[in-house]
Symmetry: C2
Subunit: 347 residues, 2 copies
């Protein structure tokens, strides 16, 4: 860890969220406080349930853990508007309230994505100049050493050119701060690389990006180049981003299924499979990034990391580490500065 981690920091966890709730969030919390001695976690949810799990995990009265009681849990299929209006004492909202009140520097949840977006938007509010929150994650590149950040991944169905421009500014900050890339190359996902390709709002966004001195604009990029390293940040609307990301997951699963089938054909190929499967699995697992390390909500006045609903404790632990990294790198402050600069220059 960097030297910054020596400064104490606090992260609020939505313990009850996700498909498995405390069964995965609390073992992840245990691992996190064991790994990071300067980390304090506030466990938000039903106190009795949390206490009982902490006893089992031999974590009662752990100095790095405290509990924030919340009587309600938002289910995975609950409508976001209902969750926002009717569940004011939910574990998710309690965690977000702590961030709003400066009692925690970040929140991590594996709960209902729509509800998290709606409540985070309502509770934390947007950074001035950013109209909509965006979901961002990073994907592995072919070279095996670096990443590409992609946003939006489904927070917004359709985005106009102003929103996409703001996403480009925010994505640049993530690549700079989280991955340490200087002047990250920002590309727009499109159905062709030529200037004449794509819809009008994509072309308008391209014009905004070309004109901005705060963006290192690399032009249009196609789906087959997502992993090639042509871009450090890929910007698209939530519908397209969501389809692209989930398609990666689908391809990864299909390749694994087919390899398994081939491998089971004879004792000899079974032997080969035993040797090669773990490596393949590792590659393909990383193509399912929200399961692997969570996705961040950008544009809010606070750090919110969304772990996959079906996350296991390792994935939830990775999401906590992601939140810690964003706290250390002061991502919301850096976004605020970049957006101010980017928008002043335009107006």
């Amino acid at each position: 860890m960097s030297e910054n981690t020596l400064v104490s920091l606090t992260v609020a966890l939505d313990v009850m969220g996700g498909d498995h709730g405390p069964l995965i969030t609390l073992p992840a919390a245990k691992l996190a406080v064991e790994t990071l001695p300067n980390l304090h976690l506030v466990l938000c949810g039903d106190e009795a349930i949390i206490q009982s799990h902490l006893n089992t995990l031999q974590l009662s009265n752990h100095p790095q853990l405290s509990i924030q009681h919340a009587s309600e849990t938002i289910s995975m299929d609950e409508k976001p508007a209902i969750a926002l209006r009717c569940k004011k004492d939910s574990s998710m909202r309690a965690a977000l309230n702590l961030v709003r009140d400066d009692q925690a520097q970040a929140c991590v949840s594996a709960g209902n994505t729509g509800a998290l977006l709606a409540i985070a938007h309502f509770v934390l509010k947007m950074i001035p100049g950013v109209e909509r929150p965006a979901l961002i994650t990073h994907l592995p590149l072919s070279d095996g050493n670096s990443h590409v950040f992609m946003l939006d991944l489904g927070a917004n169905v359709f985005c106009n050119s102003d929103t996409l421009f703001q996403f480009a500014l925010m994505g640049s900050v993530m690549a700079e701060q989280v991955d340490g890339i200087k002047e990250p190359k920002v590309a727009l996902l499109n159905m062709g690389e030529e200037d004449i390709k794509g819809s009008d709002h994509i072309k308008q966004t391209a014009a905004l990006l070309t004109a901005s001195p705060y963006i290192n604009y690399a032009g249009f990029i196609e789906g087959n180049d997502i992993f090639s390293g042509k871009a450090d940040v890929i910007v698209c609307d939530g519908f397209v981003g969501n389809v692209a990301l989930k398609t990666c997951e689908g391809v990864a699963k299909m390749v694994m299924d087919k390899v398994k089938k081939i491998v089971n054909e004879s004792p000899f190929t079974r032997f080969l499979g035993v040797l090669l499967n773990p490596t393949l699995k590792k590659i393909l697992k990383r193509l399912n990034p929200d399961q692997y390390n969570g996705a961040s909500l950008l544009g809010l006045r606070g750090i919110v990391v969304k772990s996959h609903g079906n996350a296991n404790s390792t994935a939830f632990y990775n999401a906590i580490l992601e939140a810690v990294k964003e706290v250390e790198r002061q991502v919301p402050e850096k976004i605020k500065n970049k957006v101010e600069l980017g928008l002043i220059k335009r107006s």
Copy 2:
């Protein structure tokens, strides 16, 4: 081949199109006439060049081949509108004219996609009731035995709900006729499976599909389920379809690159790689379907198959076979009937 192939059939080839022109289209033509004794191919392009290649291939005066001279070639980066207006004696247009004039039952080209769409639309016209041509291809399913058809793959940036409904009718016909699937399951690609997800035009399309007795509507599908077999036909607009398809290609390439890297780490893994690479390559190659078997333009009054610009002779040969299959199964006639039924029921 089915017994239908005993009936003589004629396919027009744009010999000059694609990155490699006659160097790949003519070896593919040779393979096709050798495989299908009832197939006649009209080779469209510069007669002198074609003749010289035929001599090299020992195909001069072959009874199954004839030449249609065309003095112009459309380059891969030519603007579609310019190609349509200014290159009236192109090899591509000559091939499409033959289909229009009933001198060929299908056309195959590896040329400029935009130009092919524009010229095919102008020369062949649309089937009544279909507003826009769509690009369709089939992808392999996880089970290894069957396919899923996906459209549109980039002929149209944005499609309204009427157009998507027509695409669903056309995709159903392809799955029925080409793959022999009775009442194929048609799904709409979306960013979630729940009814509330997605844009308004996606929801409107869902309502049209639910109401139609001519569509076996299977609901929304997400990117991770493209290969799962939940759908036989997946409908989306050209922007999203293009990104999804090219993302598959990108993932396939990345997995191969990473496997190669791992395999080269030691002599032992190199040995494993030699054994497993061909199988992996086979799986991943099929994720690049337009390179593998071409994509078809649907909705026109004639059969047009687009082979990849960078196709090799095997891929171009596969595209010819695809065209032959669509002729045998009378795809445009079946689409005409289905669209008539589907639209009458709606009005």
